[in-house]
């Protein structure tokens, strides 16, 4: 009896300890998957009053305590932006689907991504309600397959690479700002971020002559999305484990800890007890 209890206790403890690890490992993948399904569901603009009502209900429960009773009006706190001109339905989609909103109590700079807290139906409801309330209901429609990979790389280099890194590694931007890693994001995230210009990112994502809705801009977004997609396909990491993809700093760490570490251990073994 006692042994069984210990056994189950041990398994439970192990599961508890391992969950964050597996969770972290799959959260990005899961977030991408969630983005994928949610994005597919959101391509069609929904217009039913029931959806709108559901959206209002969700807003009052989850968002109003910070963003104010009316999405189109002021928020309750100076640090919290009013939803009136953050990008409308696309902004709601982007923030909720990537798990950034509702706001988690995070200690560090920049709002972290995570598991989405609402399912696709509810996300769509929120987007519909808020979008209607602020007068911006357009959701970008993006398809990397329509994009020109080489042109996308060129545009990315001009507009995105300085902050996000040519390989999408992401970087600190000073203060409380971070340009996130793009090495595992969904194309819908890319298109929406470009439309709304979240945080320090300008509307248009730094693309010259960007205008949402025009064919030229949609093509440019498709091109960039195609390049961002290529950041996690195989030839990109042909050399092996990317070690974070952050360049020489983690490489130096590996050289010292693994390279020199193993060799010093080897030297001690070879020298024997001498």
């Amino acid at each position: 009896m006692r042994r069984t209890a210990i056994l189950f206790g041990g398994i439970a403890l192990l599961a508890l300890l391992l969950t964050p690890a597996t969770g972290a490992a799959t959260s990005r993948g899961a977030a991408r998957a969630a983005s994928a399904t949610a994005a597919a569901a959101q391509q069609q603009p929904a217009d039913s009053p029931a959806l709108n009502a559901r959206g209002r209900e969700l807003y009052q429960n989850a968002c109003a305590s910070c963003h104010g009773p009316d999405p189109n009006g002021p928020s309750y706190y100076p640090d919290v932006p009013s939803l009136a001109d953050v990008g409308g339905a696309a902004a709601v989609n982007w923030a909720v689907r990537t798990g950034r909103m509702p706001w988690k109590d995070n200690k560090g700079p920049a709002i972290e991504r995570g598991e989405p807290r609402f399912n696709e139906e509810d996300t769509r409801a929120l987007a519909t309600y808020i979008g209607k309330a602020v007068g911006d209901t357009e959701i970008p429609d993006v398809d990397p397959a329509r994009g020109d990979l080489q042109r996308g790389r060129e545009l990315y280099g001009q507009a995105c690479a300085a902050c996000h890194g040519m390989n999408g590694a992401g970087a600190a931007l000073g203060g409380q700002n971070i340009a996130v890693s793009l090495q595992d994001v969904h194309p819908q995230d890319v298109a929406e971020a470009i439309k709304i210009g979240p945080g320090q990112m300008p509307v248009g994502g730094g693309l010259a002559d960007y205008e949402f809705g025009t064919a030229a801009s949609r093509q440019e977004v498709d091109d960039i999305a195609a390049y961002v997609e290529s950041l996690h396909t195989e030839p990109f990491n042909r050399g092996g484990a990317p070690i974070g993809g952050k360049g020489p700093v983690p490489e130096g760490f590996v050289a010292w800890v693994i390279g020199l570490g193993i060799l010093v251990a080897a030297a001690r073994w070879i020298a024997g007890r001498g």
Binding site: A171, G174, P202, G206, A208, Y210
Partner: protein, 310 residues
């Protein structure tokens, strides 16, 4: 047992020069185990080596080749390490150190030889020796002259860029940039027409929000509509392109050493190691609504150098 070292002598219990080491029949258990382990390691090395042939000729694969090389070399290293530590009849040997110095007698002999053989040759020809030194100096310096051919004289090239009054502002593909082409809060890297891609002419055109610029009137005159401001993209610290524009706070941060510049305030640095603001490029608009430069930058672009202020 003779030794070619004059002062070296050895104190070893066993004369290992004449013996061949212990006979095979006297292997200890530890040595037998070591021999077996070394043997296994060598077999692993052989298999990995063969594996390399297989992988290479079937197209090659970087990760597998790396692992197989590591296994092959590593196993061989293990085998030799085991051999060195367990299969050699290794005893500690003591070797005497000999004097490193030649001693005062030796040095004296050298000095005497120098005086005897070199002195007479040069001593009596002091004028010739001095002229020889002079010639050596002059020619030695002359040999360095080709170094000056390695590059052009700097002149004032660090203080000027291709920007001139009236030159059109174009993007990196040569397309002229019109007023309001860049959306509000947006930015674009621009060049003078005819010099697309020129490193020292790279300029950031930023469309700031109206009423946010705090520039003196003569600088504000070079900002069309009070919103299209242009600064040199070359960081005044160490020269990296300052491409990170933070639209919300209208500030730039350089990725190399985190110098931060306030776009609303003449691109003055407010954090980090940069000491000077980014030079501004004053702009105007021509009759086709295309942005044009009013002249070169307001200061030499890029990092500081000795004669920058002159």
């Amino acid at each position: 047992m003779t030794d070619s070292d004059q002062q070296g002598s050895e104190r070893v219990d066993v004369d290992r020069q004449t013996g061949q080491g212990p006979a095979d029949t006297e292997l200890t258990g530890d040595q037998r185990r070591a021999e077996r382990r070394a043997g296994i390691a060598l077999v692993v090395a052989i298999v990995a080596g063969i594996g390399l042939f297989v992988v290479y000729f079937s197209g090659g694969q970087t990760q597998i080749e790396g692992i197989l090389f590591a296994v092959a070399f590593g196993a061989l290293g293990v085998a030799l390490g085991i051999w060195a530590n367990h299969l050699l009849d290794a005893r500690e040997v003591v070797e005497e150190r000999h004097e490193l110095t030649s001693g005062p007698a030796g040095r004296q002999a050298f000095e005497d030889a120098l005086a005897e053989e070199v002195g007479p040759v040069l001593g009596r020809r002091s004028l010739l020796v001095k002229l020889l030194a002079g010639a050596g100096g002059a020619l030695g310096l002359a040999l360095l002259l080709p170094v000056l051919s390695l590059g052009p004289a700097p002149g004032n090239s660090l203080k000027v860029t291709p920007w001139r009054r009236g030159l059109r502002v174009v993007d990196e593909n040569g397309e002229p940039v019109t007023l309001n082409q860049v959306p509000e809060n947006g930015f674009l890297t621009v060049f003078p027409q005819g010099h697309e891609g020129a490193a020292d002419a790279q300029t950031l055109l930023i469309h700031v929000r109206p009423g946010t610029l705090k520039l003196p009137p003569d600088r504000l005159a070079g900002v069309p509509e009070g919103t299209h401001v242009a600064y040199s993209k070359i960081c005044t610290h160490a020269g990296c392109p300052v491409g990170l524009y933070r639209a919300e706070s209208q500030t730039l941060i350089c990725p190399c050493h985190q110098s931060q510049f306030d776009v609303s305030d003449g691109a003055k640095p407010f954090f980090g190691p940069a000491a000077r603001p980014l030079p501004q490029l004053l702009l105007g608009v021509d009759e086709e609504n295309i942005l044009v430069a009013q002249g070169d930058f307001t200061a030499p672009v890029g990092p500081a150098f000795w004669d920058r202020g002159r």
